[in-house]
Symmetry: C2
Subunit: 281 residues, 2 copies
């Protein structure tokens, strides 16, 4: 069983709050400290019983921590880790919950003080809902967390990161950061972009003529624009490649529609169905 004395969560929104709550409920950490740049956020997390103490600032928050988890927007994680590291005790493990990984690892490469390690993590869990008030102790239960070690890999740090995330109830898979980002461009970033684009072309006065299909297909469009802009930009090349693949597929649909070609249209629909039905198995 993975047990530590002090866990510090930086950014106590939906993800950070859920990390804190899961760590307390499952006994992973004896005490959980929260830090948040947003005024009042860690106090609210304290009131809600997500954390044991709210730190005034990052240096005091991470002091003495065994594990520090950065649950801030992707474009703040590397800077946060660099700011925190000098105040961390030797042997401290830094990890995160960012949706993209390669840019963060590049930014940290060779810049952490000796004794402080960073192992990238991406929990494939979340919600279009943001904020401390949506935190849930079971958010990671049975969900996949992808770990992306730095290179050369630090086996001790990787094994501790695995222990930590498994301790929160998740399944862990280890993958290269670039490979992770290319895959997630297709499985997560592209769906988000498409949902936003689709919602963007429907005039609000037609919303009364939508049903559950539109609701589901566009659900991701409700996500935070700033958060997602940061995710897209931190994985720009892979997202552009994914978008190109979608463009090609949409162009195939356009051509068979224009040609009134029922057989090929059905074939394209079957392609999508085959992939999607694979999820329900």
């Amino acid at each position: 069983m993975f047990r530590i004395d002090k866990l510090t969560v930086v950014g106590v929104g939906l993800i950070g709050g859920s990390v804190a709550l899961a760590a307390r409920r499952r006994g992973v950490a004896a005490r959980v400290t929260g830090v948040d740049r947003q005024s009042g956020a860690s106090e609210r997390a304290l009131q809600r019983g997500l954390i044991d103490e709210a730190a005034a600032d990052l240096p005091s928050g991470v002091a003495g921590a065994d594990v520090v988890v950065f649950c801030t927007p992707v474009d703040h994680i590397a800077a946060g880790a660099l700011a925190a590291a000098p105040h961390c005790r030797p042997g401290a493990l830094l990890t995160d919950a960012g949706s993209t990984k390669a840019a963060i690892l590049r930014e940290l490469d060779g810049r952490l003080p000796p004794g402080v390690s960073f192992v990238g993590a991406h929990p494939l869990a979340g919600s279009e809902k943001q904020g401390t008030e949506h935190a849930r102790a079971d958010l990671f239960e049975g969900q996949l967390v992808v770990l992306t070690p730095s290179s050369p890999p630090d086996d001790t740090a990787l094994s501790r990161a695995r222990g930590f995330w498994e301790g929160l109830g998740s399944r862990v898979e280890v993958m290269g950061a670039e490979e992770h980002d290319r895959a997630l461009a297709l499985t997560s970033h592209l769906p988000h972009l498409v949902a936003a684009a689709l919602a963007g072309v429907v005039p609000v006065e037609l919303l009364g003529l939508t049903a559950s299909g539109f609701r589901d297909t566009t659900r991701l469009a409700s996500g935070g624009p700033a958060l997602w802009a940061a995710i897209f930009l931190s994985n720009r090349a892979a997202v552009l490649t994914a978008l190109e693949r979608l463009d090609d597929q949409l162009e195939r649909f356009r051509q068979v529609l224009a040609a009134d070609d029922r057989e090929q249209l059905e074939a394209l629909l079957r392609e999508g169905k085959q992939v999607r039905d694979g999820l329900s198995r």
Copy 2:
């Protein structure tokens, strides 16, 4: 209250089975007859208690019916109505549950015998699940049904169609068939096409790296390829126009991503969020 003696449902799948069940449970029809070209389908519907009798063929099924509802694929509705009409009693109302309306009205225009009326209907309810076994008595409850009268409109038939669909628990809105089809191209057909295209570009080996976002965005891709090919082709021009609008919006995303323009990227994401958030109000 709308009360008839005999209702005939042609096509007893998810929609037809739900029409039958709702009509029986809510006392809209004293008896419900089912007809289905698929061998054994109406017998299964009878066994499940969805209908009171299974007719051997369309002529005997529609004989004496006050209302006949065609719940077959969109490309079979007009032909079914034309085949049924000569066997209908004078004053019979024909209606349907097809997702597109203009092509059907065009095909029927001036071809129905005197005394038999057709009022197009589109219940904005359904599921990616097909088949009698998914029929539900409450499928239409509180859901919108768009009625598209023929022109010139037959006020008696329209009022009976309204009574019938409201009798099943739905809300009714009356709209021109072309206007309906243009709107639904954006609010229903485009989401389906996009879901299918998106699912089609994700390699099955990456399905393990998907989360609820991908699941929701692609849910529609599980729909029946033949059914949806027929819907797209019966509304081809409007679907192509909708697809063009989406292409333009995706191109805007591509450009701001390529330009690394965070501000404009956030603006595009906000556009989508604003529309989508309008649904939750």
